[in-house]
């Protein structure tokens, strides 16, 4: 049985966040229109009951094992580590999960909640399409109707995933408003939810949005870190010096970080999308660029905005990181200094993408390639007996058309 143990913060104070209104310090909360408040109350109450229900937890664990294929391996990337000539790199292989990314851990948990709540219809927003695919997958698995909102720009750049969602029986709605990316898909999903709140469960795909989403997504994803701790002990005999993960909204990162928050000596490093470079303004790195806190999508978080509080367009080569905010718990971990946040630019991510293909025979997602690139930078500065775990959040099949296009190849 999975155990949900509350970690301790480094200073030995119990780390019990969020508070009852969803606050992580000054971040998080519930900033939504009154019409959604009862739905969020209902979700929070059902979630609290579910997490104390052994039958729910057992089913979640069963599904993770038999449907997703967990535990995902912790793999020593020996050839790449040798090439870099520094720390040993281990990859937490979320790319090997059913549907090819960590997203499925969360969608299974939330679909089970939807079923408990008697909802027959689920909706989701998606950027790269991985969360859309994971939502469409569990909707098929549990017999739920599924509608996925996706920014029109992302529909174009992630065509294989759009087709996958349709194969799985979901309808995909291309969102034409705003910047036509992930944030606009989230706006449209919230509009659908507020209209169809009686019949519909909204599966948010990252640890963002109004309380209780950041908490429940974290809890469902923390299986990554729980497994990693056990695997490190078994395979290496100790915990790593650093854990590195890419951060869009931050769900794969919080999933692997959370169980390590109270483990001293383990650096936690979140890698944001630097786009063309943080200094160019064309990026998706709210923490690295010191974006001011603001309110969007039901939460108070560090937010890329102009001086008038309008949300600015973001840029990243990876659709899954192209979001102007970041989950509230990351904002908090950044503020208290327990986790560090850095940015990796498009071209650095691409180099890491190709390196992993060539040195390890693994095609990583472009999102995960940001974590790989930073992990590689760190490794070369560290000694051979040091250890870095990189969360390989997804596989790169969906990105092959993008990579081909960059290389001038028409498939």
């Amino acid at each position: 049985m999975l155990e949900y143990v509350k970690p301790m913060a480094a200073n030995n104070q119990p780390y019990e966040l969020p508070d009852e209104h969803g606050h992580f310090g000054q971040f998080g909360g519930i900033y939504v229109a009154e019409t959604l408040i009862p739905a969020l109350d209902e979700l929070r109450e059902e979630y609290q009951r579910a997490m104390k229900d052994p039958a729910f937890l057992a089913e979640f664990e069963y599904e993770l094992k038999h449907y997703v294929g967990r535990p995902s391996p912790l793999y020593h990337a020996r050839r790449w580590s040798d090439e870099l000539g520094g720390a040993q790199i281990y990859l937490k292989r979320e790319d090997l999960n059913h549907t090819g990314a960590h997203k499925i851990n969360n969608t299974i948990g939330q679909a089970l909640l939807a079923r408990r709540m008697g909802k027959k219809r689920v909706i989701a927003e998606t950027g790269a399409g991985q969360h859309g695919v994971a939502s469409a997958t569990v909707a098929a698995r549990y017999g739920l109707e599924c509608v996925v909102y996706m920014g029109a720009e992302d529909v174009a750049r992630q065509a294989p995933n759009v087709f996958r969602m349709k194969l799985l029986g979901a309808s995909v709605v291309a969102v034409e408003s705003g910047s036509r990316t992930l944030k606009d898909a989230m706006n449209e999903a919230m509009r659908d939810w507020v209209t169809n709140v009686d019949s519909t469960y909204y599966i948010i795909g990252t640890c963002a949005g109004p309380h209780p989403y950041p908490q429940l997504v974290r809890d469902f994803q923390s299986v990554i870190g729980e497994e990693c701790k056990v695997q490190c002990a078994e395979q290496i005999g100790r915990q790593p010096d650093a854990v590195v993960a890419c951060v869009g909204g931050g769900s794969n990162a919080i999933g692997i970080f959370y169980p390590y928050i109270d483990v001293p000596g383990v650096r936690l490093i979140g890698v944001e999308a630097g786009g063309n470079g943080v200094e160019t303004g064309r990026h998706a790195a709210p923490l690295t660029s010191n974006a001011r806190p603001g309110v969007l999508h039901g939460q108070r978080v560090n937010l890329m905005q102009d001086e008038n509080g309008q949300i600015v367009d973001t840029h990243s080569i990876s659709a899954g990181l192209d979001y102007p905010g970041v989950g509230p718990e990351h904002c908090y971990l950044n503020e208290i200094g327990r986790a560090e946040y850095v940015a990796i630019n498009d071209d650095e991510a691409l180099t890491a993408f190709h390196d992993l293909c060539r040195y390890e025979g693994i095609i990583p997602a472009l999102e995960s390639s940001h974590a790989l690139a930073h992990g590689a930078k760190m490794a070369s500065q560290m000694s051979r007996d040091q250890i870095i775990v990189i969360n390989l959040s997804g596989r790169g099949d969906k990105d092959i058309p993008t990579i081909a296009r960059l290389d001038g190849i028409v498939l």
Binding site: H21, G29, I30, Y31, V32, A33, E34, T35, I37, P38, A39, S177, G178, S179, K183, D184, M186, N187, M190, R191, V194, T195, N196, V197, D198, R292, P293, G294, V295, L296, H297, G298, R300, L303, Q305, E307, N308, G309, Q310, I311
Partner: protein
């Protein structure tokens, strides 16, 4: 007495309900807004809800989303909108103006700076749709210090305990969202509005306005029979999509039509 209180007192004495049209500031361009506000008053608007455009209007339907996009294409800012109201006040010192929008533009300006500037410009209230009472307490205190009424939303699904919490914070009036959905949806059920308002009035001493889904003179008249104020948004903003030519006249005519239906004697 505040302008909003004044308006409701005057209407009550006349046995009437307030008509509150909504337009988005800066739509179709910043130079148009002040004269369009006067056009609304000329048609019989009692209070104006002036929308502050936001890049991510997740509680709005397509009509008001497009209005926000038109306004933002001109880079309209909250500070600029405050200036527009100051301009409006030069010719109209009575009609209350409530800013309506999302939390972030106000957060970015800062509540203290906003409240001070808004009060000096003659703004009467602020409604931020994504700021529920839980998060509002400190912010409301600042607004009230400057005489800005915090306007809150109530919904079909709002339980009594929350209605009481809202009553403690709210001033001016409260805004009852008459349907499940975004602005501009068309599934208003007047019967259920009447039942819910009767319940809410047990907890809320303030006037209650009803909005979302009111599209014409008939639905406005029906709602006016049970509410203290009728808010019309998307149907008015729709007029902007027909182009700027003759817009002020169309707004005045539409508002006047609704006003006279609301005022017509009831059998």
């Amino acid at each position: 007495m505040s302008r909003i209180q004044n308006a409701f007192t005057r209407l009550k004495a006349a046995g009437q309900q307030a008509l509150i049209p909504y337009i988005t500031a800066g739509d179709p361009h910043p130079g148009a807004t002040v004269s369009l506000m006067h056009a609304l008053v000329a048609g019989g608007a009692d209070i104006i809800e002036l929308g502050v455009p936001f890049t991510d209007p997740s509680a709005d339907g397509p009509v008001i989303q497009r209005a926000a996009e038109r306004a933002l294409a001109h880079g309209v800012s909250l500070r600029q909108i405050i200036t527009m109201v100051a301009e409006f006040r030069k010719a109209d010192s009575d009609t209350p103006v409530v800013l309506m929008g999302y939390a972030n533009p106000v957060e970015a300006m800062g509540y203290e700076a906003f409240a001070k500037a808004a009060s000096a410009a003659g703004i009467d209230g602020l409604l931020t749709v994504d700021l529920p009472p839980e998060e509002a307490i400190d912010r409301v205190a600042i607004l009230k210090r400057y005489g800005i009424d915090p306007i809150f939303l109530l919904a079909l699904t709002t339980p009594p305990a929350r209605a009481r919490a809202v009553a403690e914070l709210a001033a001016g009036y409260v805004y009852y969202v008459s349907l499940k959905g975004v602005t501009g949806a068309a599934n208003l059920d007047v019967g259920s509005v009447a039942t819910k308002l009767a319940e809410l009035r047990q907890y809320i001493p303030l006037p209650i306005g009803v909005g979302f889904g009111i599209r014409d003179a008939a639905s406005a008249r029906a709602v006016a029979a049970v509410a203290d104020a009728v808010v019309i948004g998307s149907r008015i903003v729709q007029e902007f999509e027909a182009g700027e030519s003759g817009l002020a006249g169309r707004l005045t005519d539409f508002v006047a039509g609704v006003r006279s239906a609301m005022n017509a004697p009831r059998a």
